[in-house]
Assembly symmetry: C2
Homo-oligomer: 218 residues x 2
């Protein structure tokens, strides 16, 4: 399976497809047409067909897609069968909200550890997740073999923390700070810059007339 | 100025350029080369040049870009001179964190109102922002002429709330719920699906070797 070759924009849509297909399966729906799928996930059907084509021919003309096999297929790709431990660094108000956020509802994601410099948070438990002092971060990340970290520290320390994480083997960072991190080429960074998202939305409101809900990412 | 024609991927990078140029200006830096800019914002220089070309020829060979004029230019595009009122609907833990988030640090964005169904939150103030009961949402949004809304309600009510918002003239929604909203074509929706982002990151860690930090969005 040549999953290495799929474009990132396609990869980003996989969890969306996955989620919707899970809903269909629990409603005992066995088949879905590309039109139905398109309307439900708000991605045009040409894009859906192109996305699916990266995984080989999965749909049949006049029949649509088989929900069960599609779901099994995506499950494999998304590693839904393997539990992935994630850490969160920086338990401020956004960090706390993310600890409380139900990431693992229908996924195998789990925040297994959080870290913060504030002494009063050290060795407490929040939303069921243990908070360790920052001084134990590198040790814990190594011991728990954590690959992915959610970064919600203040901007001023984000690069320093990223460097520390990378040095103990972290492979990917979900970066909520507005800082563009400088990391080695083999480290994945996903930026979620909330101010940027809001500014972009307002820019779109003022400059675009038609609905382009995520359709740009082809 | 043909800003209507710029691709959404370019539009999404404008706030990033804007932020970095502001930093340079406050450090009294007058000029920036495309290489410097590229390293700072982690966007390759060919993309930067192509982005800037949508706004006409702004850089000079061997000189680079003039920080002040570039900044003024983007300021106009991003409506930084006009204060934009934004509302937040759904003051749960994520909603509270966003009320507390410093969106307007160097922008002209301001959350001017929040709404929630919980009676104990009604008519209180959180992080300096008034929280109104949900029953007053439509009236307040109309009166305050709010165009953009941050949606942090539970998934089960998100479509209903979106419909109510659209009916009183809201033009754009920053949607934090995993639901893909169905809205009229002229309404902008930006989805921030946190589970999706985390799943995508983990997928990238497992499937991509090189650093592609946001470079896919060309």
């Amino acid at each position: 399976m040549a999953t290495k070759k799929i474009p990132k924009a396609t990869a980003k849509r996989l969890p969306i497809y996955y989620r919707y297909l899970s809903v269909l399966l629990s409603a005992n729906k066995r088949r879905v047409s590309s039109t139905e799928l398109s309307e439900a996930v708000q991605v045009d059907s040409a894009t859906i067909r192109r996305d699916f084509s990266y995984f080989g021919e999965l749909g049949k003309r006049g029949y649509g897609y088989d929900v069960g096999s599609l779901l099994n297929f995506f499950k494999g790709i998304l590693n839904q069968d393997t539990l992935t431990n994630v850490a969160l660094v920086g338990v401020g108000s956004l960090g706390s909200a993310l600890l409380n956020y139900n990431f693992h509802q229908d996924t195998n994601l789990r925040i297994s550890a959080a870290f913060d410099t504030k002494p009063e948070l050290a060795n407490t438990v929040k939303s069921g997740i243990p908070i360790y002092p920052a001084s134990e971060m590198q040790k814990q990340i190594k011991e728990q073999q954590i690959d992915a970290v959610i970064l919600t520290v203040p901007s001023s320390t984000s690069q320093k923390v990223a460097d520390q994480l990378v040095s103990v083997g972290v492979k990917g960072i979900l970066n909520f700070t507005p800082v563009r991190l400088s990391v080695p080429k083999n480290i994945q960074v996903q930026n979620i810059d909330l101010t940027n998202e809001l500014q972009t939305l307002i820019y779109f409101i003022k400059n675009y007339a038609e609905n382009n809900q995520d359709k740009e990412e082809k």
